[in-house]
């Protein structure tokens, strides 16, 4: 079983991304958070769960941004970090962000907002392989 976690401070994108995931072949267990802090709390609780977790993560968020979230996740997950696959989402992709993401092997790819079925299908195919 795959598990999806959506993190975006904008509820419209949460709504949109959930919609897109629903139309997708890999629609499964989807949980969403409008705060990275809440998401971390949830992940900590279910850390013992071994199922693969895909995180669609917005970069620019108040209080805790995407990169800080990854740092914190690594801290709490320890060796279990390997079960997380992270896709970074942004409305505008900056070279600086791409460069920064290279430090994190957990980041699989960058996705341009808004997500649509086409993009999501591509992700699903990638995950199945």
């Amino acid at each position: 079983m795959k598990k999806f976690i959506l993190i975006d401070d904008d509820p419209i994108f949460i709504f949109l991304n959930k919609k897109v995931l629903e139309t997708c072949s890999c629609k499964e267990n989807v949980i969403d958070f409008t705060s990275a802090v809440d998401a971390l709390e949830h992940i900590q609780k279910e850390l013992d769960d071994d199922e693969e977790t895909i995180i669609l993560l917005d970069i620019r968020m108040p209080i805790m941004d995407g990169f800080t979230f990854i740092e914190e996740l690594k801290k709490i997950a320890g060796p279990k970090i390997s079960k997380f696959l992270i896709y970074l989402l942004s409305s505008s992709i900056y070279q600086a962000d791409i460069d920064k993401s290279k430090q994190y092997p957990e980041v699989v790819d960058f996705l341009n907002k808004p997500l649509n079925s086409e993009k999501m299908e591509a992700v699903c195919r990638e995950l199945d392989n």
Binding site: D10, I12, L16, V20, R60, S91, Y94, K113
Partner: protein
């Protein structure tokens, strides 16, 4: 035997043409032929001569003269306009007092106007030789004098030159003592003169300055002599006051022609220079900060603008997906909303492109030119794009080297202009791209048979926010950014256009093969 040896008066006269003989009462008995030129016929001894040497105790008596027989006599010939003295010795012999001597000539001047000639002297007399020699010496002396004057003149010229230099100049010898100081360095003459032969340390003590610092400097000076390395330092006087003065000093090792070591010290007042440099640095820092803030502002504004825009796009897509049987005006409204979104998105992209160009470094990579052009064309969204016939021709290698993100922005702008301003009413609207690539350059021509650019707009199309056509959908930055990017890549951009015929844009960029 002895009588035989006594020379005849004629022989005496030849050997000593200035000789004379006196009887015991000191009357002339005989005068040499040359002496007769100096003394009139009937003059007696007392009238003819005065004693110059010896002077004390000598009297005009036979007894007195004989007493001084062992001494050299100098007799002044009296009654002459030009003074002549005769140097020689008296010999008393058999009732006669002989004097043998010759005029005391010490220089050419002594000889002149005496009425004497060289043949008045005996052959063994060295007076003539002496005069000759003297003349040579005098000439040499004269030459030396001339040389010395010339040398002094030159020396003072150069020293003067140094005094007028806008630099402090000093020369230190191998004992670190001052051997030269120009006026600019030490204005007070007394101090300057005092400093000659003194060291920097002596000066420090005189002026009651920081001794420890001076000793450190002296050890550096010594290194200049020993290692032959230039020592550069700055002196700050009256630090942090209104009269602050900064001197830039340079100690250069210097070897004279005779292999002696010196230090050539120079100092320049760089107070003003330093001040303006500091101001520039500050201003630069300020500008950097402002620039950075501006860029950050643009980034966050564009992000904040784009985020809700993307939300709208996503929502519309879902609206369409979930309502497959929309019709009529609703469908039209959705289409209009999408067009408006695209316009706004383009405007944001242009602002971002411009910021990126001014901010990021040029990065050169290998590019497949034809494929890049095709992709750029494919990415253009326009309702009538399919009516346009696209032709791409590459002359030369398809692999080129440039900054791909910048080249993409240029191609996007020129291609979307070509699409937007196409005359779709024509039988065959087309865009023809021909690229010529070689080792050094790549030239890209983008030709269309669109509406063209009217004469009155031609020198304005590259201006920022200038929009020459109603069809313009962007913010009027496209060609402005294009030109800025081409500039950044050290290239050129130009165009030819005829209204209602078409336009050719030509971009020339360096092909930076790595």
């Amino acid at each position: 035997m002895i009588d035989n040896l006594s020379p005849e008066p004629e022989i005496l006269e030849q050997l000593f043409p200035f000789f004379f003989a006196l009887d015991i009462d000191l009357n002339f008995v005989k005068k040499g032929k040359s002496l007769m030129k100096l003394i009139p016929e009937k003059t007696d001894f007392v009238q003819a001569f005065s004693f110059i040497r010896p002077q004390l105790g000598i009297k005009y008596t036979l007894e007195s003269i004989v007493k001084f027989q062992e001494r050299v006599f100098v007799l002044k010939v009296l009654g002459l306009t030009k003074q002549v003295s005769i140097k020689g010795q008296f010999i008393y012999d058999n009732g006669l007092l002989f004097f043998f001597g010759t005029p005391w000539i010490k220089s050419e001047e002594d000889f002149e106007n005496t009425g004497l000639e060289f043949n008045d002297f005996s052959l063994s007399d060295w007076t003539a030789d002496f005069l000759q020699l003297n003349k040579l010496l005098e000439l040499e002396l004269e030459d030396k004098l001339i040389l010395k004057t010339e040398y002094e003149k030159q020396k003072s010229f150069y020293e003067h030159l140094f005094d007028y230099l806008p630099l402090d100049v000093a020369v230190l010898n191998d004992e670190l003592k001052y051997v030269y100081i120009n006026i600019k360095a030490v204005k007070d003459e007394e101090t300057r003169k005092w400093l000659y032969g003194k060291t920097f340390l002596d000066y420090t003590i005189l002026r009651n300055l920081d001794l420890a610092e001076a000793m450190e400097k002296e050890s550096q000076f010594r290194k200049v002599l020993e290692d032959g390395r230039t020592y550069i330092y700055e002196d700050v006087y009256h630090k942090d006051t209104e009269h602050e003065k900064i001197m830039f000093r340079r100690m250069v090792p210097f070897k004279s022609a005779d292999d002696k070591n010196f230090i050539l010290a120079s100092g320049m007042d760089i107070t003003d220079l330093k001040k303006s440099a500091n101001e520039i640095l500050l201003k630069n820092e300020e500008l950097k900060n402002i620039n950075f803030e501006l860029d950050s502002l643009i980034y966050s504004v564009t992000h904040d603008l784009r985020s809700p825009l993307n939300a709208i796009t996503g929502l519309i897509e879902i609206l369409e997906q979930e309502n497959q049987n929309l019709e009529g005006s609703t469908l039209n409204y959705i289409f209009l909303i999408k067009t408006a979104i695209e316009k706004l998105d383009n405007a944001i992209n242009e602002i971002l492109d411009f910021t990126k160009n001014s901010r990021s470094e040029v990065t050169i990579t290998e590019i497949e030119l034809k494929e890049l052009i095709q992709t750029c064309f494919d990415n253009i969204r326009h309702e009538n794009k399919n009516k346009i016939k696209l032709r791409i021709e590459i002359f030369g290698k398809n692999q080129i080297y440039s900054d791909i993100s910048r080249l993409r922005i240029i191609l996007n702008a020129l291609l979307s202009n070509a699409v937007i301003y196409s005359r779709f009413e024509l039988e065959e609207p087309f865009i023809g791209i021909s690229a010529i690539t070689d080792e050094k350059n790549l030239i890209i021509n983008i030709e269309d048979n669109g509406e063209g650019i009217a004469e009155e707009h031609k020198n304005k199309v590259f201006d920022i926010f200038y929009r020459a056509s109603r069809k313009s959908t962007g913010s009027g930055q496209g060609l402005f950014i294009c030109r800025e990017i081409v500039k950044k890549l050290n290239g050129e951009i130009s165009f030819k256009s005829t209204p209602a015929v078409g336009t050719i844009f030509t971009v020339k960029l360096p092909n930076i093969i790595q």
